[in-house]
Structures are given as C-alpha cells and as structure tokens.
C-alpha cells in the first residue's frame, strides 16, 4: 500500500501533497442496566489527501472509496489552486521520516472473541448494579480498536503506524425518589486486552459514590481555596492552559501572540507544565503525528514562565519555531490540526502530599474526579465528579454539583502548592476541537492547590 500511495503522490501536480490512509478494526460492547445494548465488530477505512500549491490555499479531499485515490489527489490539487493567497502558506522544514512504528498491542484485541469481551463488561456492569438497589440504571461500554495508518508525502516521508486502543467506561445512576445522581468511571489506554482485566473495584466505587451523593448537599457557590485531586488537576491544565498553548490560536492573530509572548509569567515558580506525545503507553501517545513529525516532550511553562507551544508544520513556520509533533486528526475524515497529546503538571517537591496542602485551609473545597471541562480561552469550566468541604484543615462533608469557573490569568497564578504525588489519568472520552471529537488524550498531575477559585451554586 505504501508504494501505491507513493506512486499516487508522484502523480500529483501540486507542489506539496500528502496522503493518509487508515484501516480501523474495532469491536464494541455496551450494557444499559442489566440489558446488553450491542456487541459488534466493525471495519472502517478511508483516505485523506491534502495538497498545497505556491501562493494558494490548502485543497482537501476525504473519502471512503480507496479506488478513487488518483481522482481525489487531482481534486485536492484543483481545490488548492482555487484559492489565491497574498501571503503564502509555508511549512516548517522537516526531515522526511520513513518508518514502521508498531505499538505494543499487549494482548491483541482482534484475537479475543466478542463473547469474552461481553463477559468482561458484564462483570464490571454487574459490579456497579450489585452495590445497592438504589442503582437504578447503568451505562457501560467496552470499545477497542486496532488502527493501521499509512502516511506518505511528496517530500519523501513514508510511515506505517499500528495504533491500538482500548476504552472501558461505566456510569452508575443512583436514585431516591426525585433525586438522581451519577458516578462515572472511564479507563482508556493505547494498549490491549491484557491491560483491562482488573478494574472491578473502580466500578464498585463509582456506584457507591452515586448512592452516597443522594444524601449530599449541593456545594454553596462562592470563592474558596480549592484542592484539585490528580484527575481534576489534569482536566484543569488541559482546559486552563493546554488549549491556549495550541499555536493555531495565536499564529494568525497579533493580539493573541502578544498575550501569549514567550517569557511571560503565568504562574508561581512551583508551576511546570508540558505536553509529551512520546510518553510510553498512554492514550495520547503516538510515535508520529498526522503530518509525519516525530512526537516529543514539549515544555510549555517552566517555573511559572511561558516557554513553549504546540505546533503543526504550518504554525511553526509562521512563528519561526520548530514543529512539535502535535498535528493530529481524529480520522481520515478530517485534516490534522494542532492538538494536545499527554498534557501534564509536573510534580512538586518529592514527598509533599495532600496533608501539606490541606493543613492551613479554614474553609475550602476538595474537588475530585472529572465529568469534563471546556474552555473559551480566557474563561473555562472544569466539572468535578464530587467534592468534600474542607473545614479547619480537615476533610468534612461530601458535596455535589461542584463546577469550577476558571480564568486563565487569575487561576493559574493562584496555584500556590503542588504535591509530589503525580499520576497519569488513564481516562476514556477525549478532547473536542474544530468538530473533531473525541481525540484520545491523556492528562497527568499531582494534587494541586488553588488559593482562590470560583465555584458555582446558590449564594
């Protein structure tokens, strides 16, 4: 196939042409309550061509019928020529890579029967339902895939990647009369069958939490000192800062560039942030991005100061910086855009734990787990799964509906303590941007303390 794609690229009239072809084998099992929803095996395949001519724009063609490849190459070239630009699009120089990158399948999911996958999910789903008769509903899903991606471009790059993925998630719905609460567990790994066998306890815990939340009061709205657990701290850094470090937001916008000038201070010296697409075995990990650039560990904030950003070849050229391997597409249906991979807050002082963070808080909130987050760049939300009040340096009652309102310039700067207990969150779900969702990403963080953050609720 690589040779066929290389031949198609050679035929192209465009100054620059790239072709990506994907073939994805996947299986999925889902339960709703005690009932099986589906158990299916699917195969999806298609191609993507992007062409660029001098003084012209991008021409793009995405298709499921691979027989059409030569016609689609010609079409992408035509579309590129239909757009005239005064200021040409440039791509940062790159050494064309040729490689076969086969990630560890760790138990090839293609060799496991659908019946066995159903049995595994039935076990986890059953673990949630068994917790209490107040668990009235569950939504459990198992999904795996093995994706083969071929990438060639007219500069000579030729890359084959084999990317596995497995995601298990469960939502437990607890109900007492009109009160309804939920607990959510989600595990996502760029690995295989062997890695998802031992999560019974996690599923029991989330179901128990849904039951416990039935008796919990809503958090009172206002500004509090807040401690984020590892999972929510990860979502926080993704929303609070990760999206702003994506250079496609700043590269065409002089005001945004000024706001995000390298060297600007965003936090106290305890704060170190980065994005590492090359970290081993994580869901956001990939050897090469969807422009054929090798991934890397990119420091973004060093001791509170902005030191880097995430790039595609186009944004890097425009800003005179180097590509970082962050051009990603969720599938052949989409062009690569600047995205995060595995984004992290680096651990603070080794040995510094939760105790050091909570000790001097008189009234505050310990916000745990994550239902999600969203950003409008300066302002963002991050939604905890549950929380505890902190009273006089101690954890107090369980509270629900804990949603934090963040501000890029205020919230990051108010991070005053970072623990040493770093973990990667192996979450399912994914990140959405520009109509591309869900992109597999991972977040990692230790416990983090924010001196003051706004929490919504009755006041």
């Amino acid at each position: 196939l690589k040779d066929r794609l290389a031949a198609a690229v050679t035929q192209s009239r465009a100054a620059y042409t790239e072709i990506r072809v994907e073939r994805t084998w996947s299986s999925a099992v889902a339960f709703r309550g005690r009932r099986l929803e589906t158990a299916t095996v699917s195969e999806d395949q298609g191609g993507f061509v992007r062409a660029l001519n001098k003084g012209c724009g991008w021409g793009i063609a995405a298709f499921t019928s691979l027989d059409e490849l030569p016609a689609m190459v010609a079409r992408a070239d035509e579309l590129s020529r239909a757009i005239r630009l005064d200021e040409p699009i440039r791509l940062a120089d790159a050494t064309p890579q040729t490689a076969d990158a086969v990630l560890d399948l760790d138990g090839d999911v293609r060799g496991v029967s659908l019946a066995e996958k159903k049995k595994l999910l039935d076990r986890y789903n059953g673990a949630m339902l068994a917790v209490s008769d107040r668990i009235v509903d569950t939504q459990s899903s198992y999904r795996d895939e093995v994706s083969e991606v071929w990438y060639v471009n007219s500069e000579g790059a030729a890359i084959y990647q084999l990317r596995p993925e497995v995601v298990i998630s469960g939502t437990a719905i607890g109900r007492r009369d009109g009160t309804i609460e939920k607990g959510l567990e989600s595990i996502g790994l760029r690995k295989g069958w062997n890695t998802v066998q031992q999560f019974d306890n996690q599923f029991r815990i989330v179901a128990q939490r849904a039951v416990d939340l039935l008796d919990a009061p809503r958090v009172k709205g206002g500004a509090y000192p807040v401690i984020l657990d590892n999972e929510l701290a990860g979502v926080f850094i993704h929303e609070a800062f990760g999206h702003l470090s994506e250079a496609d937001f700043v590269y065409e916008n002089p005001q945004a560039r000024e706001m995000m000038t390298l060297g600007r201070r965003f936090g106290k010296p305890v704060l170190n942030v980065g994005d590492n697409g090359a970290a081993a075995g994580l869901r956001g990990t990939l050897p090469y991005d969807d422009e054929g650039t090798p991934t890397q560990d990119t420091p973004l904030i060093k001791e509170g100061v902005l030191v880097g950003r995430l790039h595609s070849r186009e944004t890097a050229a425009k800003l005179g910086e180097r590509p970082t391997g962050n051009a990603r597409a969720i599938s052949f249906r989409h062009p690569p855009i600047v995205r995060m991979t595995n984004t992290y807050i680096a651990p603070g002082k080794p040995g510094a734990g939760f105790k050091e963070l909570i000790g001097d808080i008189k009234l505050g909130v310990y916000a745990c787990g994550a239902f999600g987050g969203q950003t409008m760049l300066e302002n963002f939300s991050f939604t905890a799964g549950w929380g505890y009040m902190i009273r006089d340096g101690q954890l107090a009652e369980l509270v629900k509906d804990v949603v934090l309102a963040g501000n890029l310039f205020q919230t990051l700067d108010r991070i005053d303590h970072i623990a040493g207990d770093f973990t990667w969150n192996q979450m399912g779900g994914g990140c959405g941007k520009g109509g591309q969702f869900p992109l597999p990403v991972t977040e990692g963080a230790p416990h983090v303390r924010i001196e003051e953050a706004l929490i919504g609720g009755d006041v």
Binding site: A28, R32, L36, E37, T38, A39, T40, V41, S42, E43, Q45, G46, G57, W58, G59, I60, A61, A62, F63, T64, S65, R75, A82, I83, L85, L114, A115, V136, I173, R175, I180, G221, G222, A223, E252, N253, Q255, A256, M259, F371, G372, G373, Q374, L377, E378, N379, F380, S381, T383, D401, V403, L404, A405, N407, E452, L454, G456, G457, D458, V459
Partner: protein
C-alpha cells in the same frame, strides 16, 4: 444496495432492516479573514440490523463495494450475543410518505465560488480592526435509503448548509468570543445573512464594556443560544430510553403539570427547510410531530422501534442510526411553542434581528442576559441541576444592558425554573435544530469572585 442486502438476509434470519447513506460535503474555511482551505468529503456506508432466533444484532461497513454475505454473517454473530427483543418491523405504508421538502436545488447546485463569495461577504461585513474573524461555509448533499424485511421502503435526498461566523477580540488580557451561524436545508437569503451579521454585531457591541457581575438569586434572560443548559435535561428525561431505564425524573408523569402552562414543546420532523427534517425515520417509520410538553403538561416520550417494543407502545419515528452501531433515539427539530392567550406564535421571524434579550429586560432591576455557558452537558444533566461559568453574558440594570460580565457562574435546576416562566421573548429563532425564543427565568443563582 438495500434490496440486495435484504434479499441475501432472507432465510438466514427472522427479519432485518437496513440503512444506506451517501454524503458529500464541500467546505471552505476563512481563518483570520483569509480564505485558507477548501475541501470535499465523500462517504458512503451501510448499516444492517437482524433478528436471529429472536435476538438482535447489528453490523456496518464503509467498504466501497460491501459484501452482503459478510455483513449478514457479522450481524448474525452480533445477534448470537444479543438480547431477545420482541421487535416488529413496520410494514410498507399504504399511502405516500409525508411530503416534506428536504432537497433544495439551489443548495445542491451551489458552486465552490458561490460558497466562497458568501464567506467573503461575511468576512468583509464583520471585519473590525481589533477583531479576528473566522468563517466556515459547509454544504452537504445526502442520499438515504431505508428498508426492511416486512416490505417497507423509503428513499429521500437532502441538502444542508451551515454558515458560521466566529469573532475573537483580544484587548490586553481580555478575550471576547462571539459566534453565530445560519443552518438550513435551503441556501440563506440576503435577509438571513444580514441577520447573522447583525446578531454578531449586536452582541459584540454590547460586550465591549466589562462590568462587575451581580450576585444572588436573580432574574436571568436565557437567549436561544444560552438556553441549552436548561433544555438538555428535558431532552434526556423525555427520551423513552431513560424512562424505561428508570432514570428519567419524568417517568410516570405523563399529563402532570410540571411546567409553566404557556409552554409547549414539540419534536417535528416535518418542519419545512430544516436539515433535520425527513419523510421517514431511519427505521422505516413515517415521520410525524410529537408533543413533548403540552401547555405545561408532560406529553409523549420519544421512542425508536426497540424501546417502543419494550415499553409496549408505538415508535414515534425518532429512530436514528449511523453506519456503525444499532439504531437509537434521536430528536429531529425541537420547537418551543408559546401559548399566550390561546394564540400560537408563528415560526421563524424574518424581521431584522431584534434587540438582545427579546424585549424581556424592561422589568429587570438587576439581573443577567445569558447568551453562552461553558461546559454545558458535563454535569449530572438528567437531574435537572446545572452550574456553569458564563461564556458570554451581560448585566441588566434598571431594564437595560450595562455591559458584559466575566468570572461569574450561574446555577439552578431546570425543573424548578421552568415551573413559572417570567416571559417569552419576541426573538424566536433557529439555533441548529432547535427553535426557541429567549426565556426570562427568575431565581437563578449567580455567583461571582
């Protein structure tokens, strides 16, 4: 393709239904005011569901030349693990399908240059020295065919166009994002584009000044865009699936007066000119309108074939399916109907964009207009509770907008707030597949730093 597939399934399974869909998209993107990319996407896929020994199974493929036997075999393997379902596929309808225009030649025939011209006009109209503007124009042409082993067949073509304008204004450390779009099956007319421009300009102008947010339980006007957080819990709770599962707070409440008696909500797949409209659903059930909320009372829940069979009722024609996976419940067009003194407000206004707040601000001493919230859909939605930072919101003082507020969060419970609606705005409009006016809701919690 459907015919051949059902033919191959015959004798091997008890029954089957299938959907074939081909989509063709053309898109142009202006980034920071410059046309940067043009693209096409073509995709075709086939989805098959079978009943085999009373059990349900599904399979799908995007292969260019699908092998029907392989697809049937995969669906049967899926059914081997499936649940027993007492599902009856609808028979061929006796009359013609409801006549609903879904295909507009103007949209289908629009050239790349037509799309570019439209985008360029918006860029020119919305350009301001301190703003960056992104515009996207996306046109879709789709063909759908559905059929089942009971002899029902349906086929239709559809067009859709989305024009999106997105303005970002950064001054110092203040980031303002204003966004709006036109979505329709037919091409936007000059009036539609003019409304889009004015909508963005109005909200941008009112946002230039930043003021301190208020605090407390306050009157809040939710614009059609800001209303999403309040509508989402109802959409989940009115789904026959959550009712069956016991997780809907509306289960067992059909006929109960839970909402303001002037409020009616419908799901209507037969609304002319909307991309979500269709003559038949993805399971061969002819389309019809469903009253979800009727004059404040809980109306009918929406069902697909499977949930209807389990609930021992009829499908409401809300079956939706993709290439992979099994059919599920999906809404089509959701319309808010306000009953004021017995009269029915008409459909889309073609008048110029009304003022922000839909004429509901007059009696507000201190409150907010909420146009966008951040993180909608990410909490414990079905409970009705919501809590979100504001994305775009304005303070109202003594009946007038005094500026934009930042760093504030609004919270409440949709069920409590919709019991008594303070007022329906005169600014009813489409937003994606939902038509609603602004609503004034009282007692919304506003927290600030």
């Amino acid at each position: 393709m459907i015919e051949r597939l059902l033919e191959r399934a015959r004798g091997k399974v008890d029954g089957a239904d299938a959907l074939w869909r081909r989509e063709e998209q053309t898109a142009v993107a202006f980034e920071s005011g410059r046309l940067k990319a043009a693209g096409i996407a073509e995709e075709a896929g086939l989805n098959l569901r079978v009943l085999s020994h009373g059990r349900m199974g599904v399979a799908g493929t995007t292969a260019a030349t699908p092998d029907p036997d392989a697809l049937v075999a995969r669906a049967r393997a899926s059914a081997d693990l499936g649940e027993v379902v007492d599902l009856a596929f609808p028979a061929a309808s006796t009359g013609p399908l409801p006549p609903i225009p879904t295909f507009f030649d103007r949209t289908a025939n629009a050239s790349l240059d037509d799309l570019i011209r439209m985008g360029r006009m918006l860029v020119e109209r919305l350009s301001r020295p301190d703003c960056q503007i992104n515009v996207a124009v996306e046109r879709e042409i789709a063909e759908t065919a559905v059929g089942n082993s009971a002899g029902a067949r349906g086929e239709y073509r559809a067009t859709g166009i989305a024009v999106t304008a997105d303005v970002t204004r950064i001054v110092g450390d203040d980031v303002l994002m204003v966004y709006d779009q036109y979505v329709g099956a037919d091409m936007p007319g000059d009036t539609d584009l003019e409304m889009l421009v004015r909508s963005v300009e109005t909200r941008l102008t009112a946002a230039l000044k930043v003021v301190t947010p208020p605090e407390g339980a306050l009157p809040v006007v939710f614009t059609p865009a800001g209303l999403a957080a309040v509508v989402l819990p109802l959409e989940q709770a009115l789904s026959g699936k959550t009712v069956l599962q016991g997780s809907s707070p509306l289960a067992g409440k059909v006929g109960a007066m839970l909402f303001d008696q002037r409020l009616s909500i419908e799901d209507d797949p037969l609304t002319p000119g909307r991309p979500a409209s269709r003559p038949i659903d993805d399971e061969c059930v002819p389309s019809r309108c469903t009253a979800l909320v009727e004059r404040g009372a809980v109306g009918r829940f929406v069902y697909d074939l499977e949930t209807a069979a389990r609930a021992k009722t009829q499908s409401t024609g809300n079956g939706r399916r993709g290439v992979f996976g099994k059919p599920h419940i999906g809404y089509t067009n959701i319309l808010f109907r306000m009953l004021d003194g017995g009269g029915r407000h008409g459909l889309p206004l073609s008048a110029p964009t009304p003022e922000l707040g839909g004429g509901l601000l007059r009696d507000i001493a201190d409150g907010l207009v909420v146009d966008d919230l951040i993180g909608v859909g990410q909490g414990n939605v079905i409970s009705g509770a919501f809590s979100h930072p504001v994305g775009l919101a304005y303070r109202v003082q003594r009946g007038e907008i005094t500026g934009r507020v930042k760093d504030a969060a609004v919270a409440g419970n949709a069920y409590d707030l919709l019991k008594q609606i303070g007022g329906f705005g005169n600014d009813g409009r489409w937003l994606g597949s939902r038509w609603s006016p602004s609503l004034l809701l009282d007692g919304v919690s506003v927290a600030r730093r």
